[in-house]
Amino acid sequence: MNLRENWRIVMLVVFVLAATAALFAPAAAPDAGANNSSAYGSASGPTNLKFGLELAGGSRIRAPLVGTTAENLEIEQGRRASIRQTVGNQLNVSTGDVSVVLNTGNGDAVEVLVENVSEQRFRAALTEAGTDGEAASIRSGVTAQTRQQTVETITAKINRGGLSGGQVATQRSATGDQYVVVDVPNANTTQVLNLIGDEGEVSIVATRPVQADNGTVYRNQTVLTNRQLESSQIGVAQTGQNGQPYVPITLTEGVARNYSQDLVDLGFTSSDATGRQSCRYRESPEDPGYCLYTVVDGEVVYAAGLDPGLAENIESGEFLKGPSFIMQTRSTDEAQRLQVNLRAGALPTRLAVEDGTVLFLQQSLGDRFKWQALLTGLIAWLAVSGSVFLRYRNPRVAAPMLATAAAEVYLLLGFAAAIGLPLNLSYIAGFIAVIGTGVDDLLIIADEILNEGEIATGRVFQNRFRKAFWVIGAAAVTTIIAMSPLAFLSLGDLQGFAIVTIVGVLIGVLVTRPAYGDVLRNLMLDQGGD
């Protein structure tokens, strides 16, 4: 066999070998060994193929971030704090929910990270804060920086929350909306939402009775903010001897000094604040006495008085030498969550899960889909084989045709393994589309080459092959055009389908289908010579 003449077949063989390497060679998987946790399903099965959620099981949460952003502003570095303050006051939101981001893609930006911000009031607030509120472009959503920070925090929360192998990314829809997509294998959506459904902003608030003109009123003051807690050393959630779960915390020196000073100033170390009954939050939340609240996202999850021993240490300054204390919770679950929140930090804003999608699939169902989809594909291929054999009644034509169609799918699988594409059901639909267009094209090649009688010379063959290729090429370009809108502006559901179809058609037109022409020529010339 002349290799030069059959270079298309040689190329196909090379591609098949490469696909085999990508599918089965241990080193070919992009992160096999190095980091198994980053791709779910990578460890299972004999191949390097990765499976997406629909075929591996797990949870996916896809949601936009809550917030409203004003862009195209010009803000001086030094005025950030005052702008946050003014905008927050004008809109009645806490300063922590207003952030100023400089040098975004669209000038400087101010974002308000709460729901239902009226555009009109936002503009007025910006003007009040001394920026050009009328010229700002206001949209819902947050800046890219905040989005990135959210993705990082969620990743940290998932990894620290004991859910391994999670992947977090942002996705842009065709309509310009940005979504955060959280994929966690081997977890149900309740577990994931518990971990990331809220911002997880933790603070310690001191509440105390104060004598005023009209009797006793309660005053709250935050003594440890989330940020201060983040800089501390957070211990492992555990259960104490009295059965009370807690998280041990060691503050940094500076934070400890402020903290103890605040407690002394607020009277928490005085004798009436440290007694057994100093905090009566559980019995009478309206009149709790001296309490330290553990507050998560504005909700009091635990309340306790200052321990007398600790109060003494704080009073004497002993506390500063070993500034550790414990944050108690009601349940071990809560302690666990508190620990994650403290370690990973608060999310800049909330995921608007109610505006997104939630998906959960048991692993067993994913496994079932895997072999059922494989079987469905196989049966479809058999149906194709049946009709091709009936049409040609010549195994010399039909067998290589079916082998070529199978090779196309094999190369595609190799491609998927090589780039670490996680397979989903829509990809399987894509494989089927590829077999469909593939067999169509092979039929065109076979008929074109065989129908016009004997192939006398290589030139006649080349001529016919070129004619067939015109049709195939035109059909391929049409398919690619039909799929490209989905491949480029998709929300992801049909993106895989579109990409697989496009890549499959390219592999088919450039590699496998021309090779089939060569195979056919060899077989037919052999036959003619007999």
């Binding site: 479809a380 149906a383 009936l390 059901l425 059909a475 055009i481 929300l491 559901d493 049909l494």
Partner: protein, 284 residues
Amino acid sequence: MVEFVVPEPDYDRYSNRQLAAVPLAVLALALLVLAGWTLVNGVPVTPGIEFTGGTEVQIATDAPQSEVRQSLDFAESVQPIAGSNEFIVTTQSTDNEAVRSGVQSAGYEIVSIQSRSASFGADAQRLALIGIGVAFVGMSILIFALFRSFVPSVAVVASAFSDIVIPLALMNIFQIKLSLGSVAALLMLIGYSVDSDILLNNHILRRRGDFYESTYRAMQTGVTMTLTSISAMSVMWVVSRLFGIPLLPDLAIVLVFGLVADLMNTYMMNLSLLRWYKFEGVSR
């Protein structure tokens, strides 16, 4: 053994008008169905929960269907999966946690659950429409660029249009909702249907030889192509439906509709336009 020989139709017996009348009548009927559906329901095709928002739960239980339906009062539909003790329950509610707890308190095991908010669904619907629209326009431009003459190009584009409209009408008749699978199928139809049309145009316009001889040659290949795809998709529809795999049954059945429509459109409508063009249109 079954013979698989593409029959040679006696095109001589029919005028162009007669040939085109059937596919045009079917197309008109399909458009009528879509128009009527729009009048009654406000949309040409009923969108599924992927586009309206809602929740789909797959549950495992030994209880019979009637009991499941009764115990889950929020359920809009309860469909059993053949050969298993599982059901697919859909509801318009987008509150994943509420549906989850509702199903769990009824004592069923959740195999999978998926919910989409209405706004997300609306986005996906807009995207699907844009996708199909852009794909169709792109295909049309390409066809005009390839053939560079009006009538043959219009023949291909019209046939592709009808290949999409007829399955849409059939979806209404068979109560198939618009889903990601059927959108994928409609996009695939744009590619598939053009295959056989290009083949026919190519044989008739770019080859020497008698019109009917060229037509028959193109038909031999083209009809085999379409029948092969139809057989594969029918089998896939049956199997994937039995297994209860999502996405694939919708995709398969819409493709079967479209490919059958394509047989008619290519070899009656497209052909009659080409014959007119070849024998009468060119000489004018």
